[in-house]
Amino acid sequence: MRIPFSAMLGLGLTALMVLAAIFSPLIAPYGLNETVGKVWENPSAQFWLGTDTIGRDIFSRLVYGGAVTIFVALASSALAFSMGAFFGFLAAVRGGWIDTGLSRLVDVMMAVPSLIVALVVLSVLPLTLTTLVLVMGVLDSTRVFRLSRAVAADIAVMDYVEAAKLRGEGQVWIIFREILPNAMSPLVAEFGMRFIFAVLFISTLSFLGLGIQPPLADWGGMVRENKDGLIYGKSAAMVPAIAIAVLAIAVNLVADWVLSRTTSLKGGRNG
């Protein structure tokens, strides 16, 4: 199989960031919360990307922060994905009151803007990583549910599924042998989309002060800490912002490639 350049680039960048996250203590020249320089120093040989609002090394924080950002986004999209896909397939295959019940529940959940729900819930609960992952995962699972149900419903009316039903195959067999393989490609692409959404969502939450809390750091929070320097041309806030964008673009490129090998496209950042 020939992989196009854009997908290679995406894969490469994603791999690079994931590896940097895994080996962050080895790569970062300074500690996460170590004050090593003056406020907002420019990039230099000593501080590759300059220093931040209280004189910490931005490159080190970027590496450590990347680990947190990627971990939280990955965990919450995995949660969203498994919950959403499971219930979505179930609804599509079982139909009837299970489908109606689940769909209406999801409708109610989706009718309230998720950023606002997240703000309300997170302003009350203790702000731990677990809480964040749970809140984001559950809120986001509604979108995965919609997609998996739609994809599964499309497949369920296909001739080969009808044929399997006529052959007298069971529902479990149909889900795993007929629907899942045929739904795999859009779902993988969707996973990419959900992951990007989670990265943007956690960054937004941190930016609003309700995401990752110190002493941990993440990219959105780093933008928040340094944003006041932005309009004076200080690069401190731009660096993590660019990191968020690069990660999102890289994963998008991979997802696009996966998607180009299938026929449907769903998802996005919205809601």
Binding site: S123, V124, P214, G229, I231
Partner: protein, 528 residues
């Protein structure tokens, strides 16, 4: 007058130099500070221009805000109320009172009975005259439990209020030499009929009349044509805009969308000062950032442990990193040079790892983690400050750790509840008020649970003491008691750091509060 002086006067007249710099440079030429100060005022005032729209960008507005002065708790309603409203007296820079609704204040010999003569000829925005009855009704409303007033504690000590002709008489339960200062409180804005019928109507007797109020967005006010004081109210229209985002606020002042702004982040103050047409104003005020230990809760019921923590904090580093140098170190009592009768001879406490370790050992603490509860809402940079505190305490061998709390509910669930947490105080105009708010053993907000009978006695004695020398000695003793045995760790006092456009004339920083203690829109004007 020398040529240099003339030059300075010219600079002052064109608004190119602020009061602080003017007084400083005049001082260098041999002029006393008070003469230079009043000179600055006169020179600047003579140049005052009328007309235009003056806009202030203020942080801390919400769409839940109200115009009821009793409920004002953040900068936006404070600023709005101070622009349409007027109090009996006002606190001027230097800690002196100026007469506003009251024309004259007198007391009997032992400071238990105070008389306020109401200024003749003042009218409310609805046309009604301002009477002594209105003043009494206003004060009464704030004593009433139902008003939920932030000033309830201040007026509680007034046993009897009467209005007779143009005079209001306040009889106190106990002597209080500072009573007039309490009347400058921003909640105690005089309202027609005391504002009992409609407290949030925004009708007062100030220099501007409320035209439009959209909570959390803006308040538009127009000049009061019948206002009595010609040295105030120059702009035709003034607006208070609620801009909570720091970056948007700074961008707005550099773009000229607003003429003055609150809360410049110290870190960007220098860069903002470099922007064309923007001037940074600083005022050292009584506000301070604190860590509070409850003296009744283990392990903080042990004074050696309290002392160990007090010695284990790097105050200079905090001022440098948390306040960006725009503040001063604290000395573990809530008073600084911004207060009258402050004793500057009390030795400054500094970081001392060895002594801290010694006290820690003497406390017999079991070595389990000492938990400091903190939320970003405690004060700007609170979490960073707590991290610095932990680092320096660990250096002294004290097992201090942080527990992060959510902003939401911090003031109801953590502050005044948890044994050790971060907080802030905005300060009060006089020492008595600060101490009686939070350090008297029976105070509502005694957040350090500090109980010391001698301290209480001294405070009540000082309150009725009319001899300033004796009073200063009493306050000094109280400060020392709190510094050496209290539950307060006060590492820093924060300056007001604010921005204004160069074309704003008449700016005189007032340490008592933000934006000239809320009077910037009333006292300033627009050049050209």
């Amino acid at each position: 007058m020398s040529d240099q002086m003339k030059d300075l006067v010219r600079l002052a007249a064109s608004g190119k130099i602020n009061r602080r710099a003017f007084v400083g440079r005049m001082g260098a030429l041999g002029l006393s500070a008070s003469v230079a100060g009043s000179m600055f005022g006169m020179v600047a005032q003579a140049q005052a221009k009328k007309g235009g729209v003056l806009r202030a960008g203020v942080q801390g507005g919400q769409s839940t805000d109200s115009l009821d002065p009793a409920l004002a708790a953040s900068d936006v309603p404070f600023m709005i109320n101070m622009t349409w409203g007027e109090t009996l007296v006002e606190l001027e820079p230097g800690g002196v009172l100026s007469m506003r609704v009251a024309e004259e204040v007198t007391s009997n010999a032992d400071a238990t009975e105070w008389k306020f003569k109401i200024r003749a000829g003042m009218t409310f925005h609805n046309g009604a005259p301002v009477t002594a009855e209105d003043v009494v009704a206003t004060l009464k409303r704030h004593t009433d439990d139902k008003a939920q007033s932030g000033a309830q504690g201040l007026v509680k000590g007034i046993a009897e209020m009467t209005a007779e002709g143009d005079t209001v008489t306040l009889k106190l339960a106990a002597a209080n030499a500072d009573l007039p200062f309490l009347m400058a409180d921003y909640h105690l804005i005089i309202q027609p009929g005391g504002g009992v019928d409609n407290p949030a109507a925004g009708i007062g007797c100030g220099a501007y009349i409320v035209k439009e109020f959209e909570p959390g967005v803006r308040c538009v006010m127009e000049k009061n044509p019948t206002y009595w004081d010609t040295s105030r109210g120059f702009a035709d229209t003034v607006e208070v805009l609620s801009i909570n985002d720091n970056t948007a606020r700074t961008a707005a002042i550099t773009a000229g969308q607003i003429h003055m702004m609150t809360r410049v982040d110290p870190k960007i103050a220098e860069m903002l000062a470099g922007a064309e047409g923007v001037v940074i104003e600083r005022a050292a005020g009584p506000g301070h950032y604190v860590f509070i230990m409850q003296c009744t809760q283990a392990p903080f019921d042990n004074n050696d442990l309290r002392m160990a923590l007090k010695l284990a904090i790097k105050r200079d580093e905090m001022v440098e990193k948390i306040l960006g140098g725009m503040g001063s170190v604290g000395n573990d009592f809530p008073i600084n040079a911004a207060y009258p009768l402050f004793d500057d001879a009390i030795p400054q406490r500094a970081f001392d790892a060895a002594k801290a370790a010694e006290h820690y050992k003497a406390s017999g603490h079991d070595g389990s983690p000492i938990v400091l509860q903190v939320a970003p809402a405690a004060f700007p940079g609170a979490v960073d400050a707590a991290n610095l505190f932990v680092a320096s305490a660990n250096e002294a061998g004290i097992p201090l750790t942080i527990k992060l709390e959510p902003d939401d509910g911090y003031w109801s669930n953590v502050w005044n509840v948890a044994p050790f947490c971060a907080s802030y105080w905005g300060g009060r105009p006089v020492q008595d008020q600060m101490y009686s708010t939070a350090y008297l053993s029976t105070a509502d907000w005694n957040d350090t649970k500090f109980v010391d009978a001698h301290f209480d006695e001294l405070m009540l004695a000082a309150r009725g003491e009319l001899d300033p020398v004796k009073r200063k000695a009493q306050y000094s003793e109280m400060a020392n008691i709190l510094r050496d045995t209290g539950g307060l760790i006060c590492p820093m006092f924060n300056d007001w750091v604010e921005g204004r456009r160069a074309e704003v004339g008449g700016w005189v920083a007032n340490p008592a509060g933000t934006l000239m203690d809320g009077k910037a829109l009333v006292k300033c004007w627009l050049e050209a």
